[in-house]
Amino acid sequence: MTGPGMTSPGATPGGIRFDQVSVAYDGNTVLDRLDLTVEPGEVMALLGPSGSGKTTALRAVAGFVRPSSGRVFLGGRDVTDLPPHRRGIGMVVQQYALFPHMRVADNVAFGLKARKAPKSGIPQLVADALELVGMASYAGRYPRELSGGQQQRVAIARALATRPGVLLLDEPLSALDAQLRSGMLTELARLHRELPDVSILYVTHDQVEALTLADRIAVMDRARLQDCGTPQELYRSPRTEFTASFVGNANLLPVTVADGHVDFAGHQLTVSTGDVAAGVSATLCVRPHLVGLGAGPNALTGTVAEVQWRGSTHRLYVDVEGHRVKADLRELRETPAIGAPATLHFATEDAVLLPVGAADE
């Protein structure tokens, strides 16, 4: 199934473009002027909390919601007015949505028959798709005879059997337990390597899935695109407070910019202030795992509010002048007592200065 140009009749070439797409229900805007391009062969994760508009965006691509304004393009073709069955996409949803009265092979063959693929070629295409997801030996079973992970593999095979240029994945792993999810993430990454021409739009609220799988992540909140970049960019240099908080659960400290440093609750912290003028209020973003315990540069002194053991790490919550600072530390031999004084520190290069309210722009 690999190789460029291998698309079935009716399938769309890769690439998705949202051009100022808005969706509103009864005057309530659930997607607001989305501008986003997914390149052919790219995995784009739409990441955001519930109600952020990410699923609406996916459904607009699939054709299940009609934009109130803007256009949707698939492979350079304007599909805004096309019904779903003419868009030539593949789709996998959270609860698999396998047809329960059909055997696995019939489920996978469904799209091929619907798109009028030559009958003689269907068995081989079905076998190829099932082989791709490691389910070839389950072709004769009914969905109820499969585990959740196996059902999800069949759902992926069904979506890929038609060899679509665009694959839409709507929270595909959220119904699986943690172990299965981890395994399926590896499988999806492998599938993407084997199908390099397929554009994948992956909707999730799980940052780990997005960071693991996506070439780029589009962060959504309150119906709008907040940020977009590679996982590394978003993690290391978030452009908004929301991104910094949602991706990696960063510490966001309110600071005032001074000459060559920032002031935070009586502490003078040395960070790169860039072009931000002195006297301006800003937000300092520091990842919890980049915060150390004990004296060091940019030390913050406070009292321990909570200690959580997380297996290989401890998370410390330290109250510094009324602000709670999180630190993820390698498992401590001796954990500090709650209420005990504690000093945290971080390196200058590990902090990012964000303009206040950047998320709302």
Binding site: P83, V92, A97, F99, A114, R115, A159
Partner: protein, 285 residues
């Protein structure tokens, strides 16, 4: 403690299940079972006395019985088929095509089930009866002596009335089945390239088959026994088994023959009801 027994010094004495069946049997026996037994006994009791199968022989040999049986069967099968087709189409629209007032229509289906069968026949009489609104409008507009609508007193009129009355009995289980259908299946099918007709045929219909079978069985049984609709349409040439029972017992005072027809009707109904229960159990209703 067992629900059917009492603890006595560490031992549980079970009450035989037959004991629990006695109270309803005691109530039903004089009101229903005994009269039913009398009907069966009467069917084996010819007017000349004794016990024999001769009433069955005479009834089975009569043309009127054979006509009534065939009329009953074709009306029942026809109205069941009509209800299945119409009920499936209407339930599809109500369940999957959003329109203003859709929920109110779905609730009305429940109310409709409680209507007596003669009511719908009366409504049709008002519309299409010999002196109904349709014929009245026709004569007003054209000045003719009578209107063209006289089908209500034919078998087709009975069929129309039965389909109108029994269709909600198919829709109710269908709507229940559709409400349990994962709409994501329909969306995925659509994304895979399936047009609406294929989705109905290959995704929705297979899922709805048990509900269709349950609703269809129910309608078949009910239409086999329907009396009020046939009577109220005034279709003199339409004689079904229940009408034949009425004619033999009340008009001809031929009780053995009436009881034979009744026993045949009961046998067909019980057989079909057993089928209905079997299907219902499979559906989980």
């Amino acid at each position: 403690m067992s629900s059917t027994g009492i603890a006595d010094k560490g031992r549980t004495r079970r009450v035989p299940p037959i004991v629990w069946a006695l109270p309803p049997v005691v109530v039903l026996a004089p009101a229903f079972l005994y009269p039913l037994a009398l009907v069966v006994r009467q069917s084996f009791s010819p007017d000349e006395g004794g016990t024999s199968l001769s009433p069955y022989g005479e009834v089975f040999a009569s043309q009127s019985f054979r006509d009534a049986l065939s009329t009953t069967v074709w009306l029942a099968v026809g109205s069941t088929a009509g209800c299945l087709v119409l009920g499936f189409a209407l339930a599809l629209v109500i369940a999957f095509v959003p329109f203003p007032g859709g929920k109110a229509v779905a609730r009305f289906i429940d109310v409709f089930l409680s209507f007596p069968s003669f009511l719908i026949t009366l409504a049709l009489l008002f519309m299409y009866g010999t002196v109904g609104m349709a014929n009245g409008l026709w004569t007003d507009v054209t000045g003719a002596d009578s209107g063209p609508f006289h089908f209500l007193t034919t078998p087709w009129g009975v069929l129309l009335a039965e389909i109108t009355f029994f269709t909600p009995f198919v829709m109710r289980p269908l709507l229940a089945a559709f409400s349990g259908l994962d709409t994501a299946q329909l969306e995925v099918a659509s994304s895979l390239g399936a047009r609406p007709a294929r989705i109905v045929r290959q995704v929705i219909l297979p899922e709805a088959l048990p509900a269709l079978a349950a609703g269809g069985s129910l309608v078949l049984v009910m239409s086999l026994n329907e009396f009020g609709i046939v009577l109220f349409t005034g279709a003199k040439d339409v004689t079904t088994l229940p009408m034949l029972v009425y004619g033999k017992a009340i008009l001809e005072s031929d009780y053995p023959a009436a009881c034979v027809v009744a026993v045949v009707n009961i046998a067909i109904s019980v057989g079909l009801y057993s089928l209905y229960r079997m299907v219902s159990r499979r559906v989980g209703a």
